[in-house]
């Protein structure tokens, strides 16, 4: 039965990693605008000419 405790600890650790990643993403504004990036990826990348 003790194996379940190990499983639980592992699963919480993994989930906590995801949670931290998610919180970082939402705090850094990645969820602020979910429509424009979908359009932006359609544009050709230009070579770094000037800015």
């Amino acid at each position: 039965m003790f194996v379940i405790a190990i499983l639980l600890i592992a699963s919480i650790c993994v989930a906590a990693c995801f949670l931290i990643g998610y919180l970082w993403a939402s705090r850094s504004g990645q969820y602020d605008d979910m429509h424009t990036p979908a359009i932006r990826m359609l544009f050709d990348d230009r070579r770094a000419s000037g800015k």
Partner: protein, 745 residues
């Protein structure tokens, strides 16, 4: 664009230090940040163009578009460029920014907090569920006591942040409504959440079981998802525009013999204002110049310009056409008629919307749930433990979470879908009001017909020589109608030209004597006037002393109108036209509506009266209009739709703004509102069935954690599924109607 502001120096005000401070959200010596709304932003190429801004202005470090909010954030180097230069660069490529001065700035609604709440709740929900599963599936011998206690403590630790942070919006909302001595649907939700948590803590501490923490976390998670839908719908709206958005920021005034540019708020009575071609008059003023042509299409929706003479009053919102004019301000900007009319119409009477309905429902629901909880507990009374269990179980199961989810999710996804079709709702309740509509009143110009006119000649056929003579004489006048008759003709072959300001022009060219002007002007000077064509002609023509015909504005019907109106009639909705214009378009509209349902020459008061009469007969009225001349009628009607040619036009108070190409979808929109209502009703029934089922179990004391863990998320998920699917599937018809001929320009 209709709202183009002609002045090249209208952004001069952005050089002002104080204004700059207000505009810039982040400032450092090398990098400043400003965010502006760009009303004309609408498609992928707009995004591309605006994000290439650094090519137009070297001082721009980066520019980022948010297409849903129609905003542009520009980072720039204050040493290399200025706010004014950026604004001018934007205006020069057709994306004039909408600049708000102090007190008008829009607080950026951030969804970040909501996302954090959802993340936390989701994390806790999944892990508590995992813990609970171990116990549900442990079999008859159960889980080892030490392990079980550890599990429960871990679950409780995971749940505390959910209670304190993720669920806090419902506690604040419930508390706020209780303090106003009102009970809305937030109250039973908050009670349910709290009951879940307290009951679970008591069970865990007393060692009686694992509690309902998995249900608790899943519930908060789902409720937050519902809130996210709502938030998304609100984000897509930009209803917070006032007449000020359409006015210039600054105006040129003469003070102490010196021309200076001041913000329009600083205009005082008696100031001399200079307004040039294409500029908007900021406040009610008296005309000081000889004559002026004013386009009031902003205010009235009518695009034919009005001629004014010295000493006449010009109203705020008119656009000057032709030569620059001098005006004397009569009132300050905020006290002008337009500003006051705007304020009046936007303060619409609070009507019974869905939200108040759900408040009433919430009150009864809460009282009923409390009664059942107390009653159920009494039944078990000598057994205090069982009584407490039943009491909390009833409160838990009575939590109307599925109910609170159904309306926001259905309406939220409907609003999002509609926004994509060019139909913008003011709030979620509007769809439910549209559903009740059974009579539709249409304004004509700009609503059923295109807002722009072109001149058409009616009368005797003219020879080529006569025609060129008419054009040559017309070319001598600065009147906008003459200009369009002249149609680009600019040679000066005319002789003996006499212009009578405000009435007409006379002269000779190519061997013909031509008279052009108002009806009276022409009729008084010619023979054969008994055949004068309808009084609606804008400009009448006589050649060599004989009346020949007139030039009149001709408007054309928008596409798909006839079919849309037929569809309205088929579904039993009365439709009629209330127009301020003369009956010149009657032949076009009669086959569609029938003679009886066309009302021409209506003044704004007549429109209001017609609507009130229909309302007295018990009809629910939808008014579709476009200009401020419809504002009164739209305020009186139960629901109002404003039609706008481009999203930057001034629209009167309304519940829905639709793009002009979506007018043909109005019948389908009403139909859609009906379907949405049906979806919500279906969800109501589903959630009530679940609640009754659960209540039965709760009162009998059979609501085990496992039952709750299945019943509550399943009911919420069914409702979410039905809501989203319902709102999306039933929009197909409307989508087809609107997209038939529409493409992104």
């Amino acid at each position: 664009m209709r709202t183009q502001r002609g002045a090249e120096d209208q952004y001069l005000i952005l050089d002002d230090k104080k204004v700059q401070q207000e505009q810039v959200s982040f400032a450092s010596p090398t990098r400043n940040r400003v965010t502006w709304t760009i009303p004309s932003l609408h498609c992928a190429s707009c995004v591309w163009l605006l994000e290439q801004l650094h090519r137009l202005d070297g001082g721009v470090l980066s520019s980022t578009v948010d297409i849903m909010r129609k905003s542009l954030t520009v980072d720039y180097d204050p040493q290399a460029t200025t706010l004014r230069k950026i604004a001018e660069a934007l205006a020069s490529i057709g994306y004039a920014p909408l600049i708000r001065l102090e007190g008008e700035s829009r607080s950026p609604s951030s969804t970040r907090g909501l996302y954090t709440r959802i993340g936390l709740a989701g994390f806790a929900a999944v892990n508590t569920m995992l813990i609970a599963f171990a116990q549900y599936l442990a079999g008859p011998e159960g889980v080892d006591v030490v392990l079980r206690n550890t599990f429960n403590i871990v679950a409780a630790v995971l749940s505390v942040p959910v209670l304190l942070y993720s669920a806090s919006p419902w506690f604040t909302a419930a508390w706020a409504s209780l303090r106003q001595r009102r009970i809305n649907l937030d109250v039973p939700v908050a009670i349910g959440i709290l009951a879940l948590f307290i009951r679970s803590s008591v069970d865990i501490i007393g060692g009686r079981g694992e509690g309902y923490l998995d249900s608790f976390n899943a519930l908060v998670f789902l409720l937050l998802i519902g809130r996210l839908f709502q938030q998304k719908a609100f984000d897509a709206l930009s209803f917070d525009r006032s007449y000020r958005s359409f006015f210039p920021l600054s105006v040129r005034v003469f003070r102490d013999d010196e021309a200076e540019i001041i913000p329009i708020e600083q205009v005082r009575r008696g100031d001399f204002l200079i307004i040039r071609n294409g500029e908007v008059i900021p406040c009610d003023s008296t005309l000081e110049s000889e004559a002026a042509y004013i386009d009031y299409s902003f205010v009235t929706g009518e695009s034919s310009p009005v001629e004014s003479l010295r000493g006449q009053v010009l109203h705020a919102g008119g656009k000057v056409i032709g030569n620059a004019v001098t005006l004397i301000a009569r009132k300050e900007v905020a006290h002008s008629e337009l500003a006051e009319m705007w304020d009046r119409t936007w303060k619409r009477a609070h009507r019974k919307t869905f939200l108040t309905v759900s408040d009433t429902f919430g009150r009864w629901f809460t009282l009923l749930a409390m009664a059942v909880a107390v009653g159920g507990a009494m039944l078990w009374l000598p057994d205090w433990e069982m009584a407490f269990n039943v009491f909390t179980a009833v409160l838990i199961i009575a939590c109307p979470c599925a109910l609170t989810l159904s309306a926001p999710i259905t309406l939220g996804s409907a609003m999002g879908k509609l926004g994509g079709l060019g139909i913008y709702l003011k709030n979620v309740g509007t769809l439910l009001e549209l559903y009740r509509v059974n009579a539709v009143f249409f304004d004509k110009t700009g609503t059923l017909t295109e807002a722009t006119h072109h001149l058409e000649y009616y009368g005797k056929d003219l020879t080529a020589e006569q025609l060129i003579a008419v054009r040559a004489i017309a070319a001598q006048s600065t009147h906008p109608v003459s200009r369009s008759i002249a149609d680009g003709y600019s040679d000066t072959n005319a002789t003996g030209v006499l212009e009578f300001i405000g009435t007409g022009i006379a002269g000779s060219a190519f061997g013909h004597h031509v008279l052009l002007g108002s009806r009276d002007f022409v009729v008084d000077r010619v023979t054969g006037a008994e055949r004068v064509l309808g009084k609606h002609g804008v400009t009448h023509v006589a050649i060599d002393g004989h009346y020949v015909g007139c030039f009149a504005l001709k408007s054309s019907l928008r596409s798909g109108i006839a079919e849309m109106v037929r569809e309205l009639f088929r579904s039993g909705k009365q439709s009629q036209v209330v127009s301020g214009d003369g009956s010149i378009d009657a032949p076009v509209l009669a086959p569609i509506f029938g003679e009886d349902l066309l009302n021409f020459n209506c003044r704004p008061e007549d429109k209001i009266q017609k609507i009130e009469t229909a309302q007295a007969q018990g009809d629910t009225i939808l008014m579709v209009g476009d200009g401020l001349n419809d504002a009164g009628a739209m305020g009186t009607a139960d629901v109002a739709i404003a039609v706008t040619e481009d999203t930057a036009t001034l629209v009167p108070a309304c519940d829905v703004i639709i793009r002009s190409n979506a007018v043909k979808g109005i019948a389908a929109l009403l139909d859609y509102a009906k379907r949405v209502k049906q979806v919500i009703v279906a969800c109501f029934i589903i959630s009530i069935v679940y609640n009754i089922l659960g209540l039965g179990l709760a009162v009998m004391g059979l609501l085990s954690p496992l039952m709750a863990a299945i019943l509550m998320p399943v009911s919420s998920l069914t409702v979410i599924g039905v809501s989203v699917a319902g709102a999306r599937m039933s929009i197909k018809h409307l989508q087809r109607k609107i997209e038939e001929t529409t493409a992104c320009s």
